[in-house]
């Protein structure tokens, strides 16, 4: 039974997703506990997998007992087992919080929402677990297709935003598929471990170079790296709040994971450093992404849109860490996958709570929230401090590794961008805190949407417990991951860093 844990992690959400519509047909109320059960089982399996990887080393799971270069295999090493646990636990938290906000925002559509929710989680988990590049493409498309549908049911212009995402996302996935095709033409293999053995002899081939570039551009679209990010802000702003809390932290993080896999497992670092100046290109793009993200975030009047631009800036952190290509940089990037997933989840859960209580996500809806929604705002304060990078929170530590990496690589522009981004995050955070604490909007012309200001001075009007508990757990996790980050790095991440740097 324990040998099957890696596959069960993915099978549980998939099977449960197929049965969800049937259950919903019998009775709609069954769906929510069913989804929670699926994700709980999946989380337990992923934790067992992580534990086994830590004790016994890398797990190879062969499908149908076909040996690797011919059959599909799942390879679970330190890097993916850690991302698997992250994906299952974040999606479990978001699923718990989704009940009330879904009932309010997209009534009558809960059954389909939960089906797609589970399919999306299946996609994420499959992308992370697989050791076969074509299998990865299929899971990438499962995750994306579920994402398009989840986003399209949102408010206002969500359908048009989703259409743009469909077009951009399809181009990204097709570029990835072309990369797979070119690699197959040159090597005749689709298995990652096999490819990494065959490829070094072919590094001078133009076909391999083109395949690598297709991989990078395709993934950059899925990751929403600066010049290719245009689909992201609209899609995640108008999506239902439970969808944005699921998709925004995970889709981008999973793509970062794939990029690390392609650059450092399928291709060896000496290819990426010697054959093409890809590392310096990547880190300069990262600098541009950070600067663009924070500058755009400063100008936003909409809470969720502001978080989206913060997310684009954060993607720059991880991309920069990958591009630095030294131990510190990669450690920072991998640790930031964890930290950023927690922070972005927390931000969008806060946005979800505000939407639930105030019916909108304009920045003026944050007025006086410290008095009326003290628990949500406490969580927001924690995540704000983490985004700035104040020591006990987790944001400080990944930023610290990234800064050390930047110093080691003498990449001063990336260092400056990181520090500048902290400063701007401080401005953004205190801007929101000022509105939420003192309630006085400095800029005029914003409609006063908030109802019943007089009552809200004293009464607590907090979001329901099903939203607050996951929010509290995420905020606590931000603090705990920060406090124990040395343990996480020495226990898991140092083995996940590619050894041949």
């Amino acid at each position: 039974m324990l040998d099957q844990a890696p596959i069960l992690t993915i099978i549980f959400p998939l099977i449960f997703a197929v049965i969800t519509p049937l259950l919903g047909w019998v009775k709609k109320e069954f769906c929510y506990p069913w989804v929670i059960a699926a994700l709980c089982l999946s989380s337990v399996c992923s934790i067992i997998t992580l534990e086994r990887v830590l004790c016994h080393g890398v797990i190879h799971y062969h499908f149908g007992n076909w040996s690797p270069p011919w059959g599909i295999e799942y390879v679970i090493d330190h890097l993916n087992s850690f991302v698997l646990v992250l994906v299952t636990s974040v999606s479990l938290l978001v699923a718990i919080s989704s009940k009330r906000s879904i009932e309010k925002e997209i009534p009558q559509k809960e059954v389909y929402f939960y089906t797609l929710f589970l399919l999306q989680v299946t996609g994420f988990l499959g992308i992370v677990a697989t050791g076969d590049i074509f299998n990865l493409y299929v899971f990438l498309e499962i995750a994306s297709l579920a994402g398009y549908a989840l986003i399209a049911v949102g408010e206002k212009h969500a359908s048009f935003a989703s259409f743009r995402y469909v077009v951009m996302g399809t181009i990204g996935a097709c570029f990835y598929l072309l990369g797979v095709g070119y690699l197959y033409m040159a090597t005749g293999s689709l298995n990652m471990a096999d490819l990494s053995k065959i490829l070094p002899e072919l590094y001078h081939s133009k076909v391999i170079l083109v395949a690598f570039i297709f991989f990078m551009v395709g993934l950059a679209i899925k990751m929403a790296i600066f010049p290719l990010h245009t689909w992201l802000p609209d899609a995640y702003t108008y999506a239902p709040s439970a969808t944005s809390a699921l998709v925004a932290p995970l889709m981008t993080k999973v793509s970062v994971y794939v990029m690390i896999r392609i650059i450092y497992t399928v291709f060896q670092p000496n290819f990426t450093m010697e054959m093409v100046p890809i590392n310096s290109i990547i880190s300069w793009v990262a600098v541009a992404a950070i600067l663009y993200g924070i500058i755009m975030a400063l100008g936003q009047k909409d809470l969720k849109r502001m978080f989206c631009y913060i997310l684009i800036a954060e993607m720059g952190y991880m991309l920069g860490g990958i591009g630095l290509a030294n131990k510190m940089g990669i450690t920072g990037a991998i640790l930031h996958i964890l930290n950023d997933a927690l922070m972005i989840t927390c931000l969008f859960l806060v946005a979800g709570a505000v939407v639930y209580k105030r019916g909108g996500h304009h920045i003026s809806q944050m007025k006086n929230n410290f008095k009326t929604m003290p628990f949500s705002m406490a969580a927001f304060a924690v995540v704000g401090l983490s985004l700035i990078g104040v020591p006990p929170t987790c944001g400080f530590f990944s930023k610290w590794y990234l800064i050390l990496g930047a110093i080691e690589a003498h990449h001063w522009a990336f260092l400056t961008a990181l520090i500048l981004s902290s400063a701007v995050n401080a401005i953004l955070f205190f801007k929101i805190v000022e509105i939420a604490y003192y309630g006085e909007e400095s800029s005029s012309g914003v409609p006063h949407v908030h109802v019943g200001t007089h009552h809200s001075h004293s009464t607590i009007d907090e979001a329901p417990a099903s939203i607050l508990i996951p929010l509290g757990i995420t905020a606590l996790a931000i603090l705990l991951v920060g406090i124990f980050s040395a343990k996480i790095v020495s226990g898991v991440i140092q083995y996940a860093v590619p050894p041949n740097l």
Partner: protein, 126 residues
């Protein structure tokens, strides 16, 4: 020069088709035309995969005398490579699913805005 084009015509065809699809996705204002472009784009990639599997004089990869096939040496060169074809079966399924989702989203957009022209929708959004 001419020989390069003729001898590798399958690659040229795929590039031409892909660029037609790409052009339609970027420059056409009608959402349905964008989807058609997207479909041509994906089909081009499928044609690329199928064409790299082909061999001159190759036949279907089904072994005759399967039960005692160990007695015959299998000539790889006389069979078409089946793997890209199998991969493309999966890719076609993905393509159909993408098309379905895209069309559903377009229906959604039409119900909301009453039009499928991109610039008219953008006017209504602003």
């Amino acid at each position: 020069m001419f020989e390069i084009i003729v001898s590798k015509y399958n690659y040229w065809m795929y590039i031409i088709l892909m660029m037609i699809g790409f052009y339609a996705m970027i420059s056409k204002k009608n959402l349905i035309k964008k989807i058609i472009g997207m479909n041509i784009f994906q089909t081009a990639i499928i044609l690329l995969f199928v064409s790299i599997a082909a061999k001159k004089g190759g036949t279907l990869p089904i072994l005759e005398h399967a039960h005692d096939s160990m007695e015959h040496a299998i000539e790889v060169a006389s069979y078409i490579n089946p793997l890209p074809h199998v991969l493309m079966l999966t890719a076609i399924v993905v393509m159909v699913a993408t098309l379905g989702v895209a069309l559903a989203v377009v229906i959604f957009i039409y119900r909301k805005y009453g039009t499928l022209e991109e610039d008219e929708i953008l006017d209504k959004i602003r």
